[in-house]
Symmetry: C5
Subunit: 149 residues, 5 copies
């Protein structure tokens, strides 16, 4: 299995590096670094089509302004479009500065989210029902799970 890591120089935390460490030797890695998250969709598409990735983790960092949120929206739409073209998953791992202004907490949340989604990636590659036992369980990345009702 080959997992793509698409990340940015805009991000203030090396989420891509954390995911690579989490994956370890459970999959081959191809990395593609771009300036900002609006550059991620085409990078992911290239990771699938030219570098034969089976799944891509895309890491974005959203600034605190409203315009940053709009750009995150554009990036996510593009990432979903890429998934529909290649019929493979992109896990869209975005940290938003709106979540917290505490710099240390920003780092903790971003790294936790990156690592948990690295594990989700490995699960998804096992098959379409690998995550079914946890359906409706209110799992969260970056924070504690909300839990099922």
């Amino acid at each position: 299995m080959r997992i793509g890591i698409a990340d940015t120089t805009f991000s203030r935390v090396n989420m891509g590096g954390a995911a690579i460490a989490e994956i370890g030797d459970q999959a081959a890695i191809e990395r593609y670094t771009v300036p900002g998250f609006k550059d991620l969709p085409v990078a992911c598409k290239i990771l699938f089509e030219k570098y034969n990735c089976d799944l891509v983790l895309a890491f974005g960092w959203t600034g605190k302004e409203e315009i940053d949120e709009v750009c995150a929206h554009e990036a996510n739409q593009g990432l979903i479009n890429v998934e529909l073209i290649v019929n493979k998953h992109i896990l869209k791992v975005f940290f938003h500065e709106k979540e917290t202004s505490d710099l240390n907490e920003q780092k903790v949340v971003a790294l936790d989210r990156a690592r948990k989604h690295a594990l989700n990636a490995l699960k998804l590659l096992e098959g379409k029902e690998a995550l079914t036992p946890a359906a409706g369980d209110g799992l969260r990345q970056g924070y504690n799970d909300a839990g099922g009702l």
Copy 2:
């Protein structure tokens, strides 16, 4: 007939399970569980193209923050795009925490919506005019019907 069930580990209620119970033996089932609702579009596309589903029920759970609503919007755009690629219906069954903060009510609304849309799925598979007798009747899923004017 084969109905796909696409659901998430983010959801706090097992809506997919409720729909499967409602459908019973009226159709074959293929299930695909993903981390969050932005992962649903490609899962649905795979359910159609690889698992030969005739219709998919996609279950999403929208958190209470504005960013969650934006993500739900992205997921829905992607789901509609999938429908246009495969020429088949995806019933987009989303619960929004903005609807109510009462946890028990969240569960009741989500389950009612899941079950009623499971019935809608079976109706749609009967043909394009199976629901026509109820056109303009103000039907609702998750709540009581509004009724026709």
Copy 3:
């Protein structure tokens, strides 16, 4: 000529029925009823591709909440995408509860809009300049015309 009528069980007024009555025997009719307006795009695509419609009237009813408006937006984007795939018109006839909370007025506006767009459909089928004499005339559906300046 064959006109498609795509409508919903969510709507509180039978706009599709009103349009069919207005068209009378001026065109053949194919009807497709779905649960909500987000289901309209694929229904319209099927009306064009499987049922050979030359134009489709798509009737939506938008609830009073902000989430309803977002869904209407998604539906409209999907409908425009369908038009670009099939190179034919879909008249997007949506009533929004934000327009008025008076139930009787809701009905009057929705029916007037449905009937006037049924006439627009017939005009558009005559050719690309059939409506040109009224270009810039400030015509309205659901209300009195605003008029040209």
Copy 4:
């Protein structure tokens, strides 16, 4: 050269007519009039594909309500999608009632915008660098130029 004019009966000013007058005998004209601006994208696509236009001017009129702005957004997304399908320019000439509530000013702005964009159309047809001498010059349509900094 053949320029398409796509306009609406919703508009309160005959912007299409003003553009045709401005173009005069500098290009052949094909006109397509639709009810509202959400009908413009497919009309433009037909002007390119069936009527062999080299460029289309699309004229929209946006009402003062928030819903009107959302519809304008949908129309513009569709118009950009058409450009990407046909690899030709559509100049998107929209007047927004939010710009001014003064009816006379509405007319003045709309007509000025229509005429200036008619001239932009002729320039674009000359080649990709015909407008380069004015790059960064802060040109405006409907109002006085802002100017370069």
Copy 5:
């Protein structure tokens, strides 16, 4: 290597010119100037498909009104769509008047952003890991870097 420069007459600063100066003789240049940023997507597509560019820098200037921000959003969606069609990068270099109303600062920010993204373009053309050493470093264009956490 061939870099496309797509810019506008709406912009109040000649960002395209600044980028060309920054690139110097490190790449061949093709320039395409359009009226406004909503015209950029198709211009970029033509720069790739007709003028064989390997990467395009697209320069937009966003006015201070809300409608301007919506248009910027539409332009960016279109630009991302072009990237997915051609499998090449478009660096989306937009200045927003909302960032600052000081005219001199507008110019300084816009030019800095243009020049830094010109350097990003050259880096991206070196390969997918040329920017990886700076992943998570919080780089910014138009302002000082935020830095890694």
